[in-house]
Amino acid sequence: MKKKLTMLGLAGLLALATGTTTAGGPLRVGVEGAYPPFSWKEADGTLKGFDIDMAMEVCKRLNRECVLVEQEWDGMIPALLAKKFDTIIASMSITEERKKKIDFTIKYYNTPAKLVAKKNAGFDGTASGLKGKRLGVQRATTHQCSAEKLYPGAELVLYGTQEEVWQDLSAGRLDAQLSDSLQAYEGFLALDAGKDFDFLGDAIDDIECQGVGAGFAVRKEDSTLRDALSQTILDIRADGSYKAMNDQYFAVDIYGN
């Protein structure tokens, strides 16, 4: 009798413990804070940007308190799996590789990736053009994946944040870099620091690495959260709030097709 009770008790505890975290309560959102204009940190420490606005809007619609958790990019997915937060809203591209570990909502925007180099660089954006050149990318991004695949002859230099890539590109330590074209424009080329630089070639064509756009990431077992988030994205898109947020930062509609 005693044994049965203890087994029941343990089973009950286990059941409680393995419950999902979507039953109300605050929604912990993983954000980066180093990817303007999608997310960045002001001098006083507040987080701002398109991703941040999306996060706050989504929480409002789901009627849950938003807790933004800053996380280094290359630890984003392990942190989600380790339950540091319940979803990632940090311009993370939906790719098959990532889908092996986590799940995604529908996309919330889609912009292509492009190379950036000095104006009149003297080489083109092909595999042969970049052979032997120093190519900078952010670690653990789809761009690292594409760079390794499309430009195997280039000398790949990895950085923790995209900001560091821009820093070294303007210092002249890199010949080129590969990243999201919209962030490249808004976060570098349109600024004073990027005045001597420009896109090199067209958008790269690599669906396998690049994926089909950026989505919110959730753990595989949180399918109810995923569907709820996908629905809110559609709602935000439908009633015009998307356009309002979009136009604050970008001149074009970044939803893509």
């Binding site: 800053e70 996380q71 380790a82 339950k83 540091k84």
Partner: protein, 229 residues
């Protein structure tokens, strides 16, 4: 230089985090050091073996590697443990905790050597005299062992503390918003990394200089009545 002044709030916050981290790690390392030293001096070969394995492991692995293992990997293990035993749903291992545990663990090994050497330096005859006077073990520790242990351990302890303060800079690599992290982001946003890194160096020099003064005072206090060569 005015950019540093503009960001002084952020730099001050970072310094506070760094100092908190250093003190917390120091506390943990002293605790582990005392346990380790007594284990190494124990008669039981098993405890000596464990203590030796501990110091060997720490000597073989850089602190940053342990830190990353603890921060990224440790969270996963803690979660798996939690769901397997059903005892907890989620216990957070944030950067601060990962930093304190890894730095505390690493410097615990160095403190073990420090305290072991200090205890060995106390003449055995004094302990024997205490026992023959009928002193209880706790009294012996309080009046004979401890004051002399502190005196002998101080130089090595000071050295460990100074190295520890500098090691705290590594926690910025796993993203703790300490002095180095705050200064790096500030430097990057105004595109003046040199100015900010230089400011960080000055702050660290101030911290080490203050510690030096403080520990030298302690040294003088515990060395009252001792003839120095």
């Amino acid at each position: 230089m005015d950019s540093v002044w503009e960001y002084r709030g952020l730099l001050l916050e970072g310094t506070v985090v760094t100092v908190q981290l250093a003190l917390a790690s120091l506390a943990l390392s002293v605790l582990l050091g005392l346990i380790g030293a007594s284990a190494k001096l124990a008669t039981n070969p098993a405890s000596r073996g464990v203590a030796n394995a501990y110091t060997t492991l720490v000597r073989g692995v850089p602190d940053l590697v342990l830190m990353m293992l603890l921060f990224y990997g440790g969270q996963q293990i803690v979660n798996d443990l939690g769901s397997a035993t059903g005892l907890w749903d989620y216990v957070e291992i944030n950067q601060f905790i990962a930093g304190v545990w890894s730095i505390g663990f690493v410097f615990g090994a160095y403190m073990t050597e420090t305290f072991r050497g200090a205890i060995l330096a106390i003449p055995r005859g004094q302990i024997e005299a205490g026992i023959s006077c009928g002193m209880m073990p706790l009294l012996i520790f309080r009046r004979i062992t401890w004051p002399q242990m502190v005196r002998h351990a101080l130089p090595s302890f000071t050295n460990n503390w100074l190295v520890l303060i500098k090691a705290t800079a590594l926690v910025s690599v796993i993203g703790l918003h300490d002095l180095v992290w705050n200064a790096s982001t500030a430097g990057r946003s105004v595109r003046e990394p040199f100015t900010f890194m230089f400011a960080v160096l000055i702050i660290y020099l101030i911290l080490t200089a203050c510690s030096d003064v403080g520990l030298r005072w302690l040294d003088r206090r515990y060395n009252v009545g001792v003839d120095r060569a």
